[in-house]
């Protein structure tokens, strides 16, 4: 009898478990239609949002901004356990509901589709080394993190991101209301709005939980005395807490709600130092269209905002590649540079996307000095490379407000220290202020040449360049501490890649240069139509093999 009971118990578990799994889950309920009704963009949007739409040629009155039908919202709200968010862009509601409720919802004539969106993990793309002291090495990093992005040139031109509004989506902004690195912003009332999307009661208090967002904000606009931590010290800010705690899991829905909120409140730039990777997705799903946040990032870009996203910190682990939404084609994905070497920092996630688009787009320091609640601290992660570039983007946009967001995206790529050379570790390299401020049309002097002899092809650098490279590596900008505060990430190394006929890189390399003849390859080892692209000290050559 006991045996029979146990067998029955096992069988019951087998049948009940799927039911238990399905119960109390999150669903996205999409509606078939919506109406303009009383929508008035001039009262709904912040004036800045209207201005952005007019400036970038986006319709001010667009159906995707019309509110979700109130009757649908009211009816659905009564039929589910909880409404998580309502999205105008997707014409949908995210709800918590059980199977029977969802079955009822599916029967409603105005419901287009119901999609299961089980909540899962968003990973903070940074990690700390817990070193809060500013030693000489760290001082050099602090100086270098902006110098590489042209802080002197921006300062000289009087550009500090003024007039640009930047939304930061992060896990929390612990004590950011007190940290002195933001005094200049608070004193000038440039903190426009805050919102806690992890609090369903629509709280606006975001200064608790994790300090990751505080550090990220400082890399965009922080300032201690005369020392800048980020470039956009004159910009305006929107702070959105989209994660529940310092835990690495949260929901993609908060991200979607936050970008809609940022759009409504007139954001020009969105900085997101968050990303989904192996907890939820496979590498091949990083195709720019699969993940929820990736789709949301692309819609945000279509609204005229520049979305800046960290590439991720999986370069030296099994995942290896960028996460979502860094895979979105309209998101400017930022890789990390090691201040000590001037090229790719080992943990920075690699591209390309699974459909072979170039990512990351550009790079910045992945090891920075940031303002944390107790003081300045040394910290690492592409989480901090992204805000450095977000600050750069604000300055670049201020320098030319006629650019649309995607034109700015393209110009930032073109400003890269390696451009037009690229690879999937650095993108186009570190963005350069000179591209926006001093449109230098003089051609770059050759720094190397390609020597073809029979089947072999050699890369020979000019004597001057070798001496310069050796000097700079041994005694120039690289200090006795090993940090290179003059580097632009491209000056001292030879970069080369092999590109196939489809324009996709098959392989790419960074070489140290210590002798004139850097590399010899045999042409017969390449497939027809492949191209060898080489970059050294600002000069590029491409050769069909």
């Amino acid at each position: 009898m006991q045996k029979i009971k146990l067998i029955l118990l096992f069988a019951s578990l087998l049948f009940l478990l799927p039911l238990l799994c399905e119960a109390q889950q999150h669903w996205m309920v999409y509606f078939k239609d919506k109406q303009r009704k009383d929508f008035n963009p001039y009262t709904y949007f912040d004036a800045k949002a209207i201005e952005r739409r007019i400036r970038t040629g986006i319709p001010v009155d667009d159906p995707s901004d019309w509110p979700v039908n109130e009757t649908y919202v009211n009816e659905v709200s009564l039929m589910v356990n909880e409404v998580i968010i309502t999205s105008r862009w997707l014409n949908a509601m995210a709800v918590d509901a059980d199977d029977s409720q969802i079955n009822t919802l599916r029967q409603l004539p105005y419901v287009l589709n119901v999609e299961w969106i089980e909540p899962s993990g968003m990973q903070i793309t940074s990690f700390d080394d817990y070193d809060t002291a500013i030693n000489p090495n760290e001082s050099e990093v602090l100086e270098g993190q902006l110098k590489t992005l042209g802080v002197d040139a921006w300062r000289k031109a009087g550009i500090d991101g003024k007039g640009l509004r930047i939304a930061i989506l992060d896990v929390g902004f612990d004590q950011a209301d007190k940290v002195p690195a933001f005094d200049h912003i608070r004193n000038e009332n440039r903190l426009i709005a805050t919102h806690d999307f992890t609090n369903r009661k629509n709280g606006d208090y975001v200064y608790y939980g994790n300090g990751h967002g505080t550090e990220v904000w400082s890399c965009i606009a922080g300032k201690i005395g005369d020392f800048q931590i980020g470039l956009a010290t004159g910009a305006e800010f929107l702070l959105a807490k989209t994660e529940k705690s310092s835990e690495k899991y949260s929901e993609e829905l908060n991200w979607l709600a936050a970008v809609e909120w940022a759009d409504k409140n007139g954001a020009d730039i969105i900085n997101s130092s968050l990303g989904y990777t192996a907890n939820r997705y496979f590498n091949w799903q990083m195709d720019g269209k699969t993940s929820f946040v990736t789709r949301a990032a692309n819609i945000a870009a279509r609204k005229g905002m520049l979305v800046v996203n960290a590439a991720g910190n999986d370069g030296d682990d099994k995942w290896h590649y960028i996460g979502a939404p860094a895979d979105a084609d309209s998101a400017l994905s930022i890789g990390g540079i090691d201040p000590a070497t001037g090229y790719h920092i080992t943990f920075s996630s690699y591209g390309p996307t699974s459909d072979k688009r170039m990512k990351p787009n550009v790079s910045a320091y992945g090891h920075v000095i940031a303002a944390a609640p107790p003081g300045l601290k040394s910290t690492q992660g592409t989480s901090f490379a992204a805000p450095l570039v977000a600050g750069f983007a604000a300055c670049a946009w201020q320098s030319n407000r006629k650019l649309t967001n995607m034109q700015l995206f393209g110009e930032i790529e073109k400003s890269g220290s390696l451009y037009p050379y690229f690879d999937y570790a650095h993108g186009f390299g570190i963005p350069q202020a000179d591209h926006f401020l001093n449109k230098d049309t003089t051609s770059v002097q050759p720094t190397f040449r390609i020597v073809e002899s029979g089947d072999s092809i050699s890369i020979v650098v000019n004597k001057y360049s070798v001496e310069k490279a050796i000097t700079s590596q041994n005694s120039g900008p690289k200090t006795e501490n090993g940090y290179n505060n003059e580097t632009t990430g491209s000056q001292e190394y030879l970069y080369y890649n092999i590109m196939n006929k489809a324009g996709v890189l098959d392989s790419y390399y960074v070489l140290d240069v210590t002798q004139p003849k850097v590399l010899t390859l045999l042409k017969s080892n390449f497939r027809k139509g492949e191209t060898l692209n080489v970059h050294y000290a600002g000069y590029n050559i491409s050769v069909k093999l």
Partner: protein, 231 residues
Amino acid sequence: MKGIFTSLLVLLSLGAFSQEILLKQNVQADSIRPTRGPNLRNFTQGYIGFGFPIHTNEVLNYTRTGTSIDFDFGLRYKRRITNYLAAGLDLGIITAAFKLKQKSPKTVPDTVINDKEKIQISSLVSSGYVRINVGRRGNYIGNYLDLGAYAGWNFQKKHKTTNENDEGEKVKVLTSKLNYVESFSYGLLARLGVSRYALTAQYRLSDIFKNSYAIPELPRLIVGVEVGLFK
């Protein structure tokens, strides 16, 4: 691509290429979609675990709770069917040591009272299971419930007693190839796991002792923990 590396190696050996490669990435090689992994089509892992026999009826409990222990290890294969469903096979060794109570009246396996006594059975066990995963995830084991059945061959059947003789010396007696112990066993299993860690339960449907010997049965339920051995 193989050619590039060959030429690089040749040139390196000739001294024509003596520059240090700081970064090297082969995108083509990385583009091959893997099929083996914790949440990919095929996955094989090792496991190691232990458990304790649990008797539901104290009156009929002939083993010493806590010191009787079940130790197992082996290889597990999993075939992914969907993100939420998988099936697999285990092949492993289970060694169950039942330490017997020495209180009169004693009936397992006989009436003789010893200082210490245990029955140890080692089995080569194969099991099949169905895995139900909870939650969408990437290439991770995730949270799961395994339900399955096992069958084993009891290749080692030992009875050990320890007694003290009149001279105060310990006398250990080991009897193997026990006639009264069945050669095969079978039962049900369940595992509730989070990534590499799992709570396990096995319920033995078969008897340990042959019916003809009329020896009371030892605990059928074994509850324990297991650690998955994989990167």
